[in-house]
């Protein structure tokens, strides 16, 4: 595949000035928009909108400033590979961290709060049977 390239001379691909200035204007406008939206309470949707706007901005930078739109597609593939594998990393990790209580939801506080190594004053020598009882009652199954 490099063969087709070998006989080409190295003439630069020059974009018109307006393309750069137009992209810059779009980026500034989108920044203003995303900041203004953040002052409106949309509940959980705020972060979604903010990330959607950021993605459009990043796409503009990548496609125009970094010439992905005009350059050889292998560069676009490389860049998208980064996004795909990052998504895999986040997705499969969340599959664990978000689904840990699937079979048993233990609603007691995490151990470290009253474990001896972290807080030696929290446990006194006489509380062992009581502590055992309380963990049992707190650990209810759903």
């Amino acid at each position: 595949m490099h063969m087709s390239q070998q006989n080409k001379t190295n003439t630069p691909h020059v974009l018109p000035l307006q393309v750069y200035l137009g992209t810059a204007a779009a980026l500034f406008v989108l920044t203003v928009v995303t900041v203004m939206v953040s002052f409106v309470d949309l509940g959980g949707w705020n972060i979604v909108v903010a990330l959607a706007v950021a993605s459009v901005k990043a796409a503009a930078v990548g496609l125009i400033f970094m010439h992905l739109w005009f350059d050889r597609k292998v560069f676009l593939v490389i860049f998208l590979a980064g996004i795909v594998f990052l998504t895999i990393f986040i997705g499969l990790t969340m599959l664990d961290t978000m689904r840990r209580g699937d079979i048993y939801q233990i609603s007691a506080d995490p151990i470290h709060k009253n474990a001896a190594m972290y807080d030696t004053t929290a446990v006194t020598t006489d509380t062992i049977p009581a502590a055992a009882d309380s963990t049992h009652s707190a650990a209810n199954e759903k």
């Binding site: 630069p12 972060i47 990043a58 930078v61 490389i78 980064g82 990052l86 990790t93």
Partner: protein, 217 residues
């Protein structure tokens, strides 16, 4: 090991390449692969960012209010502007307008420095308040579980990004010197093009850091 032994080759063509185009394309591909590693390097921090807000949404919401949206917005403008000037510097060298290109590079450097100055003010304010990562966290005004984790993530992400800005500045400075010495032209401007790609990626990462840290809700 340089290209001068082959008299037919241009000075910038290394001995093991047969054509300038092959060399330029190789450099660009190498750079894109390097950017790919950068994406995944930051990727680890993005995973941490996803997991902890999902566990403690309220804490993240409460903590993010202690960031200054106006300074964040200002810095976004600064960094996007520097990206624009970088792109224009490359466009100018492509057209052999060397003096214009040098001017754009200087502006890019100044904007990058401005970004770090703003960041410095943000950081020193947080340090003053004790809004610091991990065990150095002494601030008490944030409700929720483990607010120090928010600042760990904040400082890790912006800190790593800041290091990249610094690295970018030194590379831009180096390209600036080479342009002034007349080593770059429309025939050969690979170093500037590579620097541009890197700088745009630094900008792109900030484009995501800004909403994730400053605009949660």
């Amino acid at each position: 090991m340089d290209g001068h032994e082959h008299s037919a080759h241009p000075a910038h063509l290394a001995h093991h390449f047969s054509e300038p185009a092959q060399q330029a394309e190789s450099a660009k591909m190498g750079m894109w692969l390097f950017l790919l590693t950068e994406v995944l390097l930051f990727g680890g921090l993005f995973v941490a960012y996803t997991v902890f807000p999902a566990w403690n949404p309220d804490m993240f919401f409460n903590a993010h209010k202690h960031l200054n949206v106006y300074l964040g917005t200002l810095n976004t403008f600064v960094l996007i502007s520097s990206s624009v000037t970088m792109a224009l510097a490359i466009r100018s060298i492509q057209l052999d307008r060397r003096d214009v290109s040098i001017r754009y590079l200087v502006v890019t450097l100044l904007l990058a420095a401005a970004f770090l100055v703003v960041k410095y003010f943000e950081y020193s304010h947080k340090i003053h308040l004790g809004q610091l990562p991990g065990k150095f966290y002494t601030f008490t005004g944030i409700e929720g579980t483990n607010p120090h984790v928010f600042f760990s993530v904040y400082f890790a992400m912006t800190g790593l990004h800041g290091v990249h800005v610094l690295a970018g500045m030194s590379v831009i400075g180096w390209v600036l010197m080479r342009t002034r010495r007349g080593e770059l032209s429309s025939e050969y401007y690979t170093p500037m093009e590579m620097t541009g790609l890197y700088w745009h990626l630094v900008d792109m990462i900030w484009i995501f850091l800004f909403p994730l840290l400053y605009l949660i809700g």
